[in-house]
Amino acid sequence: MDSQTETVALREQFETAGQQKEASTLGMWVFLVTEIMFFGGLFLAYMVYRRLFPEVFWVASSSLNKIIGAVNTAVLLCSSFTMVLAVHAAQIGSRRAIVIFLILTMLLGGVFLGVKAYEWNEKFQEHHVPGPSFHLEHTTEQGRAQLFFSLYFAMTGLHALHMIIGEGLLLFLLFHAYAGKYTPAYYTPVDIGGLYWHFVDIIWIFLFPLLYLIGQH
């Protein structure tokens, strides 16, 4: 059974299954490095403007709901936990467990996205969207306040886009897992799917304190 999966899944350009797994895993890590640099540009912009306008950033950040942010962070961490359990299930050969944990991961990801949509909607209602109808309470620096919210929407938006793509990847993995394609001899797609999901979680681990927790004075 094992060698069957191996030969079926081995692509022509590789000599051995081991080489294929190492190459695929290295490929995903290199891709994640490109994602570090991609998000990095936004983190840089955040750093520049927070340093230049600390008070306005503090006022703007206070308008975000820390509790919702923290709960959402916990939801995402939970989904990382279920994801790694899915990989573990593949490693020990439990098809049912892989499917269950992938579904749980997708559901938790869905909850996160739902909460995010709710939060964005709130921002729209409160006129905290940069543009002509923008107004933030408790500050005279309306222009600079928009910088915070531009970054808020850009960073959480890009993150959410990555989550949605992640949900797509998980769905793909789910179908294949259900069909019994993943065994202890071959579960690389689950493994590298997991790497992607955890990475998106790590981005949020930084977004939460930077956007929601800009201190008390």
């Binding site: 570090i36 820390k66 923290a70 916990a74 359990l85 979680d201 790590i202 927790l213």
Partner: protein, 99 residues
């Protein structure tokens, strides 16, 4: 080609720690530590990142090349940030008329 399979217990322990750190960072944000607030928040975030990377992403058991790739990525992010901030931080050091 082997791999070390971590136990569910290990993952659960890491997960609980991550939740605890999330709670911690949220609570610390309520206390005024001045400039230390940012430092503490980032420190906690870095620890959480390391836990996810080392345990959930199996970086602990990955080949050296993978670890080099990750360090390389983080180093490059640092280069982008440090050299750009070098400009913004030193802008006011030389007084220029009219600015």
């Amino acid at each position: 080609m082997h791999e070390h399979i971590d136990s569910v217990k290990t993952y659960a322990f890491v997960f609980v720690t991550l939740l605890a750190l999330t709670l911690l960072t949220t609570l610390v944000a309520e206390v005024d530590l001045g400039p230390l607030n940012v430092a503490v928040a980032l420190l906690i975030a870095v620890i959480k990142m390391l836990l996810v990377a080392l345990f959930f992403m199996h970086l602990r058991h990955s080949p050296m090349l993978t670890k080099v790739v990750v360090c390389g990525g983080l180093l490059w992010l640092l280069i982008l940030m440090v050299l750009t901030m070098a400009d913004f931080v030193s802008r006011k050091w030389l007084p220029v008329p009219g600015v």
